[in-house]
């Protein structure tokens, strides 16, 4: 039986291509693990960028690792501070940005700001961090979200923190892919089903063919174990 976090990490890893630059922000453990996995398998020339400003960091994620801490600088080849990662994306040089959010609709709009009205919110959320500028400018924006329910995947978001250019959303149940201005189901994770996805999604599902997300291979699982000994990839599920 595959753990959801491993399925998601592998699915996210496979969305990355060799030679790309990839960025993720604070508390982005799954993307970090996914990127390291990609680098160890099909994308050895991936350049990993992050908040502390280390370009091209290496596994493993040991005890000292924190998503915004200095540990990420130590195995980096170059310093490339957060501000410059944004600059890179603005000038069209960032290939992939991993981002998250709290509400998503079928057009790929992302809400990370408020539930309810912006000025008198029912819930004030943490905020979109970089997503409002990265989603429109990165060549591909990939969203991961560890909850898949009708409060998360809604018919209309309460607030559009960012819109456009979301290439994929990876959830515990499936991978949404963008087709024109819509999210469609690209693949359903092993153990889930299109029915289950539909039941937990607030917008109508569309898809071209019934595809199953490949299960993690033995090699991938071994690499995950080795690179992420603290099991940070499961942190959002605990």
């Amino acid at each position: 039986m595959n753990r959801t976090c491993d399925v998601m990490a592998c699915a996210m890893s496979r969305l990355l291509r060799d030679g790309e630059t990839v960025f993720f922000g604070v508390a982005s453990h799954l993307p970090m693990v996914a990127a390291l996995l990609a680098k160890a398998t099909h994308a050895p020339n991936l350049t990993i960028l992050n908040i502390p400003g280390g370009a091209d960091v290496q596994a493993p994620l040991t005890e000292s690792y924190s998503s915004a801490g200095g540990g990420l600088l130590q195995t980096a080849a170059a310093t490339f501070p957060l501000a410059e990662v944004f600059d890179l994306s603005m000038r069209g040089g960032l290939d992939v940005a991993f981002l998250s959010g709290v509400q998503f609709d079928g057009t790929g709009a992302v809400n990370a700001s408020v539930i309810g009205d912006y000025f008198t919110p029912k819930v004030r959320l943490p905020g979109g961090a970089g997503s409002a500028v990265l989603i429109p400018t990165a060549k591909r924006a990939i969203i991961w979200r560890t909850k898949h329910d009708k409060r998360t995947f809604v018919n209309e978001v309460d607030f559009v923190t960012s819109r456009g250019n979301v290439s994929a959303i990876v959830t515990p149940l499936c991978v949404f892919r963008r087709y024109r201005d819509q999210l469609i189901v690209g693949s359903v994770h092993p153990g889930s089903s299109m029915e289950e996805v539909a039941e937990h999604t607030g917008f109508p599902l569309r898809y071209l063919e019934l595809e199953t997300t490949p299960a993690p291979s033995a090699k991938e699982l071994a690499l995950l174990e080795q690179m992420d000994p603290r099991d940070l990839r499961s942190l959002e599920f605990r």
Binding site: V26, S66, F86, R124, P126, G128, A129, G130, A132
Partner: protein, 267 residues
């Protein structure tokens, strides 16, 4: 011209209503000891500025020091979850959340550092932030005729930064990630450094490694080992999870004031 001072004196110089930039990022190298003192001195109506804040902003909201927050992200890292005091203060209408993309805070600070009224932000093209945040304006690029978004400069009255090493003249150095600290030192009218280590005047002048923040930009230096605790300080200490959890259990301002008397960071 004496810059080396006590935390009490340094914080006393920051007036109610000031625009205050905070160094560090989420649970890393936030100037927590100075934040505690802002709360102890009962500052009011501060406008906080930071790309990504956590306990610093959360605590100042609980202490009722805050009028507004300009930030891209306010939350603890995964294991501590949302910044509940910030969240509730905004929901109750006590604090105005001016949501930015982290980058638009950077651009607004760069504009201030460059003495410019605004900076263009190419990436911010649509969505509701443009509508609700008065920092943004869409204009026509006079060169190309295309639309472009501008973000207005944010010039903090003070920035408070916790650095690794500083000398008595205010020259300060950060080891490891600098986050937006160096930018804040340039963008702000005045800078307060708290420092993990106090070095003598020859340290930077004679040494190979130079200060990142020149003394002439700095108004006050406070020698304050563990000044970022319970947040992390790269190379010195990790987040103090017990202290953070103990803070997260506080329910109101009175409990916070009691807790602050206990002397967090000093234990």
């Amino acid at each position: 011209m004496k810059k080396l001072t006590s935390l009490q004196e340094a914080i006393a110089a920051i007036p109610d209503g000031a625009v205050v930039g905070l160094g560090g990022n989420t649970l890393n190298r936030a100037p927590m000891a100075a934040v505690f003192e802002l709360a102890r001195q009962n500052k009011r109506c501060l406008s906080l500025v930071k790309t990504a804040g956590a306990m610093d902003i959360d605590l100042l909201c609980l202490a009722q020091c805050v009028a507004s927050v300009d930030a891209g992200f306010v939350s603890y890292e995964t294991e501590f979850s949302l910044a509940q005091h910030y969240r509730k203060s905004v929901e109750k209408g006590l604090v105005k959340a001016n949501e930015h993309a982290c980058y638009t805070v950077i651009c607004a600070l760069r504009a201030a550092a460059y003495g410019a009224p605004f900076l263009p932000v190419t990436g911010l093209r649509e969505g509701d932030l443009l509508r609700v945040n008065p920092c943004f304006r869409r204009i026509t690029d006079p060169f190309s005729g295309d639309p472009v978004t501008l973000v207005r400069a944010i010039r903090p009255d003070w920035s408070i930064l916790h650095v690794h090493k500083a000398d008595p003249d205010g020259n300060g150095a950060i080891l490891g990630p600098q986050y937006e600290d160096v930018l804040l030192s340039r963008a702000s009218k005045k800078v307060l450094l708290t420092t993990e280590e106090l070095v003598d005047r020859d340290y930077f002048r004679q040494g190979e490694s130079k200060a990142d923040i020149p003394g002439f930009l700095v108004s006050a230096v406070v020698y304050l080992p563990k000044g970022a605790s319970p947040c992390a300080c790269h190379g010195h200490y990790s987040p103090d999870k017990e202290q953070i959890s103990s803070f997260l259990r506080l329910r109101d301002r009175d409990q916070l004031m009691e807790w602050l008397k206990g002397g967090p960071g000093g234990e």
